[in-house]
């Protein structure tokens, strides 16, 4: 028995060396047209050997280690405690929410412009993640091409502003509705497809959209993208130093204050905040409505759902459409924030990141997803030196989460429905 263990552990260690040494230990150095090989430095080699040793020991003592770590997967910070009576919980939640929103409203005036900018990006990702949460977390449809709807929202605004000079506020609903339309259109072909196929086809759609955006140069600017996207105005007041549009007034002049570049950044942040809150609240309502219950039923057991009269077509399409709608919101804000968009921002990697957020946060759980979005967007900023490793860590985190804790960091908590005891 022990001999078997040692053989197996040794085998795993050897495999580790094989998959680590050639790729990590021997670096290809291209110089011009010639390629040469260079052995990696000592620390890398040491790391490789250390990894092999770790694997060896882990495999050897696997059972006892796994037993001790097993509790991690069952940890639920919210369970164990007595569930609060429903009305108390509701009140606590609304107080907490109000507090957070008030904080979020006043916070930007006290911090640097860069932070507010980052926060806007966080809010954009929150919208995206909440939208994808509907499709993946609630309805259980693995959409890998979600970034396409994001692109539709962004490009709609960019194109509208370029060709018709439409403002942010007009473009917002148009972009969202157009994205929803795309969601509907993309949803139709995938109706009958099972999980894996659905994933690949949606991925294909996302890629097709990106390739089209890249190649329709006369319409979309191709790889050069579209620039000059305006920022949102407040009742005709622009936030720039000088007015860009005829007929608009300038914010700082109207209010007699000195121009500061923070103004437009903060304004956009506030808009993003409002939109994100709307997104969260609307989806939260949907979750408690028949449409949301239908989504979850579809995810849980499509066949049972069909046997109860739920039309798989209607449920799937509603999930796609609504999810896409919020991606349209996010896209419009993103375009305005950047002032310039190109197909580079809408690659599959983005879809993967948003998916990672939903998965890490806990599929279905809005709070978990919001926290994960914040973490995923902010952490790379905090650990600048490690930003190269960002995606590597994401990938590993996705695998680890699925293996250890598929329900996510903050699993979705069921709604407690009071059935008052009547006679």
């Amino acid at each position: 028995m022990a001999a078997e263990n040692i053989k197996h552990a040794f085998f795993c260690a050897v495999i580790t060396l094989i998959i680590a040494y050639p790729i990590l230990g021997l670096n290809l150095i291209p110089s011009g047209a010639v390629v040469s090989l260079e052995g990696a430095d000592g620390s890398t080699i040491a790391a490789i050997i250390a990894a092999a040793v770790v694997v060896f020991l882990f495999q050897l003592f696997r059972d006892s280690i796994m037993a001790r770590l097993g509790f991690l997967s069952r940890v639920n910070p919210l369970s164990g405690r007595e569930p609060m009576p429903q009305h108390k919980r509701a009140r606590l939640e609304s107080w907490l929410l109000t507090g957070i929103i008030v904080l979020a409203l006043f916070w930007p005036f006290f911090v640097s412009r860069g932070s507010v900018d980052l926060a806007t990006l966080v809010l954009i990702y929150i919208m995206l993640a909440l939208g994808l949460n509907v499709v993946v977390g609630l309805a259980g449809l693995l959409d890998l091409g979600y970034v396409a709807f994001y692109a539709v929202g962004a490009y709609t605004f960019a194109l509208l502003s370029q060709y018709t000079g439409i403002s942010f506020w007009m473009s917002l609903p148009i972009g969202a509705c157009l994205a929803a339309l795309f969601g509907l259109v993309l949803g139709f072909p995938v109706l009958r497809l099972r999980g894996d196929y659905l994933a690949i086809v949606t991925l294909g759609f996302g890629e097709i959209i990106r390739i089209l955006l890249n190649n329709w140069t006369h319409l979309t600017g191709g790889p050069n993208g579209i620039g000059g996207i305006p920022e949102p105005t407040l009742f005709g007041m622009e936030f720039g130093r000088r007015i860009k549009e005829e007929g608009n007034t300038s914010f700082h002049e109207t209010f007699g204050i000195a121009y500061a570049s923070e103004h437009k950044v903060i304004f956009l942040y506030l808009i993003a905040l409002v939109l994100a809150v709307i997104t969260a609240l609307v989806i939260r309502r949907f979750m408690r409505m028949p449409v949301g219950r239908a989504w979850e039923a579809l995810r849980e057991d499509e066949i049972a759902a069909r046997s109860l009269g739920l039309s798989r077509t209607a449920v799937k399409l509603s999930a796609f459409t609504i999810g896409a709608f919020f991606a349209g919101f996010a896209g419009t804000v993103f375009a305005s924030k950047q002032g310039f968009i190109s197909p580079e921002s809408f690659v599959f990697l983005e879809s993967a990141i948003i998916l990672a957020i939903v998965v890490l946060g806990g599929m279905g759980s809005q709070i978990g997803v919001i926290l994960a979005a914040i973490a995923v967007t902010i952490l790379p900023e905090l650990a600048r030196e490690f930003s190269d490793y960002r995606m590597l860590v994401f990938g590993a985190a996705m695998v680890l989460m699925m293996v250890w804790r598929p329900q996510g960091l903050l699993p979705m908590r069921r709604i407690h429905i009071e059935l008052k005891d009547q006679g």
Binding site: P290, R293, E296, S307, I417, L419, D421
Partner: protein, 251 residues
């Protein structure tokens, strides 16, 4: 109410169901029995629209329904259960019952967002119905438990409650007694009979457990290897030689 005439279902080279005919009138309990692999569930799948039958005719309340999609048939008033319990495991018991009433509630998004009176009234009614049926099957204090956490017998009862909450005309149960102990089976007996008597639901039943079937059925159809073997009252079936022979292989 339900007429199945010469139903056939072919899968490639295999004729799983061959000229089976069944009918269910109002206010009665009809059973389909037969040895394992006889094709009983396939018949169910054809009737409930999960399979498209390759031959035959199915009439529900006089209208042809063969080949219609599953959810349409369900909305006409025919719901079914499955051999393996298919609950929405991660949803609570009560949520399972609410989602089943999908066609009775207001699914309009705007109405729900704005909480219109019609929306609220329908939600309340569906909640009442859910409460009633949970009470009826004895699961009221489990209302907020996740359905997947229930004991097997409770899950079976929940499945039936979930069907009843849709206010069906015909209830199709696929081996409802599978895995239940004798006490639970007797409770199930009483429940099914009560469904017929008190709620005027017709029941079409697939079962393996002869005691359940003999006790409550008004009529029995026997199928073996996809072909009809016999049909009649429990008494007649009990004395039918072919049936006894077909079951002799069964322990």
């Amino acid at each position: 109410m339900l007429e199945v005439k010469n139903l056939s279902m072919r899968f490639g080279g295999l004729l799983a169901v061959d000229q089976v005919s069944v009918d269910v009138q109002e206010h009665e309990i009809v059973s389909i029995i037969g040895p394992n692999g006889a094709g009983k569930t396939t018949v169910f799948n054809c009737i409930s629209g999960f399979y498209k039958p390759t031959g035959g005719q199915i009439l529900f309340e006089g209208k042809e329904i063969q080949g219609k999609p599953d959810y349409r048939i369900s909305r006409m008033g025919m719901v079914r259960t499955f051999q393996h319990v298919r609950l929405f495991g991660n949803m609570t018991v009560v949520e399972n019952l609410l989602v089943a009433q999908h066609r009775h509630v207001n699914t309009n998004l705007l109405a729900g967002l704005l909480k219109t009176p019609d929306y609220r009234a329908r939600e309340k009614r569906s909640l009442d119905r859910a409460r009633y049926w949970l009470n009826r099957v004895g699961l009221l204090d489990m209302a907020n438990r996740e359905a997947g956490n229930l004991a097997y017998g409770q899950q079976r009862r929940l499945e039936i409650a979930r069907c009843m909450v849709t206010e069906p005309k015909l209830l199709m149960l696929d081996e409802p007694a599978a895995g239940l102990n004798p006490a639970e089976t007797r409770e199930l007996d009483q429940l099914i009979v009560s469904l017929k008597e008190d709620y005027h639901v017709s029941v079409l039943l697939i079962e393996h457990d002869m005691s359940l079937v003999m006790g409550i059925s008004d009529r029995i159809n026997v199928i073996s290897q996809g072909r009809p073997l016999a049909s009649g009252s429990p008494e007649e079936i009990r004395q039918n030689d072919d049936v006894i022979k077909a079951y002799l292989g069964e322990a």
